[in-house]
């Protein structure tokens, strides 16, 4: 009850506010409505920055596109082909959103494979280009060799902008004279957007965004297509901005290019960061604080200071204009917030400490229970059946060069269906490169990779995951800030179907799919021994649990071939044994084929059916464990002579 009280009070307050304002004669509705437009913008930016983790420094460009789309359709400037045909506001806002989204895709498609700060500068570039283009497209003359193709064409209104922009028409609603309908219009749009964003965040797509934000490579190797996922974030963020821009243009009835400069992008970013990136509540709070401060507090206190100056006879104060100081105050406020609450005002705290995951040694694991046959999730059994006969993976002549170094030299390797194949060799022999080439992380320079009869060459990692190959990493790569269950759900991503529309509308089919996905995830976690830890943050798990979670996430993609890169590295003998049992069980019960890189010879020799040995990128031996142990080249290059004594000391069956 108490939890519902807060939001209910907020709704009532929002509904009553304009009437109260009118009764008291404050006349702040205009300013507050403008503020709400900025909040809407900040919410759209939050999808890009907060959810997908893409630093966008040119978001105002989409705001401009939305506003100009509205302005040009609604009040065509002289010279535009649309001149004289004003379109209805209610139609234009949708067109504006669509145009912005299209532009988002057009900008994003070629640039989104650029990462991190480089992407930020690209967005900044677009943020600069768009206003320049708008300014200069007001007066175009194209002169080629004295032949004037175009003369003084005005597409955008240039420096003067577009004036007037038509206002919406609803029978009986005074949009022309009264700020109140605007307030409610924006409130409705804002509430609807908020509702949609909230649903998006908790969907398959929201999880994909967060996975990309946490670790793009791992997400790609877990079946999330990074390019289309980022593109979607970009396009959605842009369309919200288009909405906001079109309403803004109609409300002001006039727009100029100056309203969409870099400073606006930065102010929006400040709102997101101040409130806490990724938190809807935080962004609203941040947006409200900044706009109220900017629109109301600064101007009011300027009058106050001037009044004080006049009364006290201090000319400096009397002529003070605090609005010139706005950036000073923004800066100061942001510095303070970042110092006191680095996660933003309402942001989720990032773990118990500010340490990076690698620096925290998680507390030791309790001895883990051995995996049980009964615990294998039923659905996993159903999926595990392979459709075709013959070897599951066939690699022929795989070659990879890095600069002048040959990392893989014509390597052949065959994984029969249901077999466990060990891949060993000295450090730097090319084992992980082999994995990367098979899973599409690096592009091979030559050779064939055939999985279940179909070539994998040229496919992106996420497409290979969808075909049925999953992998783990030598250095564990989880999505550290997501929960254990969410990590596994990202694994299921490529087997789920919900679209943007489905995620927002949530028809019964999507609900059922989501419910089933969660059930599966829980069953899988229980199977690998992580039951009861579903809601823990992945980064807080002990080391051994992180390894098992990574395997669970790989299993969630419903693979038929599992690539494990040193799964027992850093585990004690007991944990190692549990894990070895688990791998054996997966093969026995699910007919899962496994390709295994491992330095622990005891493990490799015990569970592998056959072993391939690499040295300097070349296959030097292939055979059963017993053959490999006696192979002179393997002993020379890898095992060493001391290995014999070690085996004797451990009583490993030979």
């Amino acid at each position: 009850m108490k939890r519902a009280l807060g939001p209910a009070a907020l709704v009532v307050a929002l509904l009553l506010y304009p009437f109260l304002d009118r009764a008291l004669g404050f006349q702040t509705v205009h300013a507050v409505s403008d503020g709400m437009i900025y909040v809407l913008l900040a919410l759209g930016l939050n999808i890009v920055v907060g959810y997908a983790g893409l630093l966008d420094l040119g978001y105002a460009a989409f705001f401009a596109i939305g506003a100009y789309a509205m302005a040009l359709l609604n009040s065509p400037v002289l010279g535009s082909p649309l001149y004289g045909h004003a379109w209805s506001f209610w139609l234009c806002i949708w067109i504006a959103a669509a145009v912005s989204a299209l532009l988002g895709v057009a900008i994003g498609a070629p640039t989104l494979r650029v990462r991190g700060d480089y992407l930020a500068i690209i967005t900044l570039g677009f943020g600069e280009i768009i206003p320049v283009a708008i300014r200069n497209l007001g007066d175009i003359t194209i002169d080629i060799g004295g032949f004037r193709l175009v003369e003084r064409l005005n597409l955008t209104g240039g420096e003067n902008g577009v004036n007037p922009v038509g206002r919406p028409y609803l029978p009986g609603v005074p949009f022309e004279t009264d700020p109140m309908p605007w307030y409610f219009l924006i409130l409705v749009i804002g509430a609807a957007s908020l509702w949609a964003m909230n649903r998006l965040r908790d969907s398959r797509l929201g999880r994909a965004w967060m996975a990309i934000r946490e670790d793009e490579t791992a997400a790609d190797c877990t079946g999330v297509n990074p390019v289309s996922t980022k593109l979607l974030a970009f396009a959605l963020g842009a369309s919200f901005s288009g909405f906001a821009g079109s309403v803004y243009a109609a409300k002001l009835t006039a727009i100029t290019p100056g309203a969409f400069e870099f400073q606006v992008s930065i102010m929006l970013l400040c709102m997101v960061v101040l409130g806490g990136a990724g938190s809807l509540r935080g962004v609203i709070l941040g947006g409200m604080l900044i706009t109220i401060f900017d629109r109301i507090v600064l101007s009011q206190s300027t009058s106050l200071v001037r009044w004080l100056g006049r009364t006290a006879g201090v000319p400096l104060l009397a002529s003070m204009d605090l609005t010139l100081w706005r950036w000073f105050f923004f800066g100061l406020g942001l510095v303070l917030v970042m110092l006191l609450r680095p996660q933003g005002l309402a942001g989720r705290r990032r773990g118990a400490t500010a340490l990076a995951p690698a620096e925290v040694e998680p507390v030791a694991a309790e001895p883990s229970a051995p995996p049980r046959v009964e615990a294998i999730p039923e659905w996993l059994r159903e999926r595990a059946v392979s459709p075709s006969a013959g070897p599951i993976l066939e690699v022929r002549g795989l070659t990879k060069r890095f600069g002048g170094v040959v990392a893989l030299n014509e390597v052949d390797l065959v994984v029969p269906r249901g077999a466990i194949i060990g891949l060993i060799g000295p450090n730097g022999a090319g084992k992980t490169t082999f994995f990367n080439a098979v899973t599409g992380l690096v592009r091979a320079d030559g050779g064939r990779v055939v999985f279940e009869g179909a070539s994998l060459v040229g496919l992106r990692p996420n497409a290979i995951v969808a075909r049925g190959i999953a992998r783990t990493f030598q250095s564990i790569r989880l999505f550290p800030e997501m929960t254990v269950l969410e990590n596994v759900l990202v694994g299921e991503h490529c087997r789920l179907r919900a679209t943007v529309y489905g995620a927002v509308r949530r028809p019964p089919s999507v609900r059922a799919e989501e419910r089933r996905a969660r059930e599966r995830g829980r069953a899988l976690l229980a199977f690998v021994g992580l039951g009861g830890k579903e809601d823990d943050r992945a980064r807080n798990l002990p080391y051994g649990d992180q390894r098992r979670l990574e395997i669970a996430r790989a299993l969630a993609t419903e693979p038929r071939l599992l690539l494990l890169d040193e799964p027992t590295a850093g585990m004690n003998p007991r944990e190692t044994e549990t894990l070895t049992d688990l791998i054996g069980l997966l093969r026995r019960e699910l007919a899962l084929s496994v390709l295994l890189i491992e330095h622990d010879m005891e493990v490799v020799m015990r569970i592998s059916d056959r072993i391939t040995v690499l040295d300097y990128g070349t296959r030097i031996a292939e055979g059963t464990p017993a053959e490999i142990q006696r192979h002179p080249r393997v002993i020379e290059a890898y095992l060493g002579t001391g290995y014999e004594q070690e085996l004797a000391a451990r009583d490993v069956p030979r």
Binding site: V363, I424, P426, Y543, G570, R574, H599, Y638, L639
Partner: protein
């Protein structure tokens, strides 16, 4: 030489060390063995000063380390080869080694030690101009140890030198560790590979959840039930 007494170290609210005590005598190889997450690396970080103990004392030849800055501690004669090697990837082998001697000013001594490192690890001399990031795992491990030796430490901290290495390289590395010790450097060795560690060490400590649960000579530890069952994987 080195003394840790009742050391408590925290990461935020997570207790990593809960009253750990150990000591190292001059000339020894002492090994600290334990499961992942038991607090081995934290112990080394507490000694070198990259994390601070909340309680307890760390002293080295009578000097309290627990409030000194890391660069001061290094100057007192402690050097570390960190877990995961952490060589500087975009610097050459030579530059990496020179950085190991960052705290020193005696040019002649540095040149001599460079020669000593190259004698111990001839592979490094072959790759002197190569960037650290392009070395193989084994070569990086050699570089990490060599870099630590360049500080001419009287106490060398080795964190998981065998991690991720092939059996033949593990053997080589441990042989070199013994050589280094014979040349007069005291060594505190943190290892996952308990069998190898106890084979080269004089004494050993077993750490569990931030506490020492057992310490003895290496030979005795190899015979103890706890070590054999939990850390050697014998039935």
């Amino acid at each position: 030489m080195l003394d840790l007494a009742d050391v408590h170290t925290y990461y935020g609210n997570i207790r990593a060390l809960r009253g750990l005590s150990l000591s190292v005598q001059p000339g020894e190889i002492v090994t600290l063995i334990g499961a992942n997450g038991a607090g081995k690396t934290t112990t080394l970080k507490t000694i070198i000063g990259t994390v601070r103990p909340r309680r307890g004392t760390v002293s080295f030849n009578g000097t309290r380390l627990d409030s000194l800055a890391t660069d001061r501690i290094v100057r007192l004669g402690i050097a570390q080869s960190p877990e995961g090697r952490r060589v500087f990837p975009r610097m050459s082998v030579l530059e990496n080694l020179e950085l190991g001697a960052f705290a020193r000013v005696d040019r002649d001594g540095i040149a001599g030690d460079l020669e000593r490192v190259f004698t111990l690890f001839p592979r490094l001399r072959e790759r002197i101009a190569q960037k650290g990031g392009t070395l193989s795992g084994g070569e990086q491990q050699m570089l990490a140890i060599g870099r630590a030796l360049m500080a001419r430490p009287s106490l060398l901290l080795l964190d998981e030198p065998s991690m991720g290495l092939s059996p033949i390289l593990v053997e080589t590395i441990f042989r070199i560790v013994q050589d280094i010790n014979r040349q007069g450097t005291t060594i505190l060795l943190v290892e996952q590979n308990a069998r190898m560690a106890l084979r080269v060490a004089h004494r050993g400590y077993v750490i569990q959840t931030g506490r020492i649960v057992l310490h003895d000579t290496a030979a005795e530890l190899l015979r103890s039930d706890l070590v054999r069952k939990t850390y050697l994987g014998e039935k």
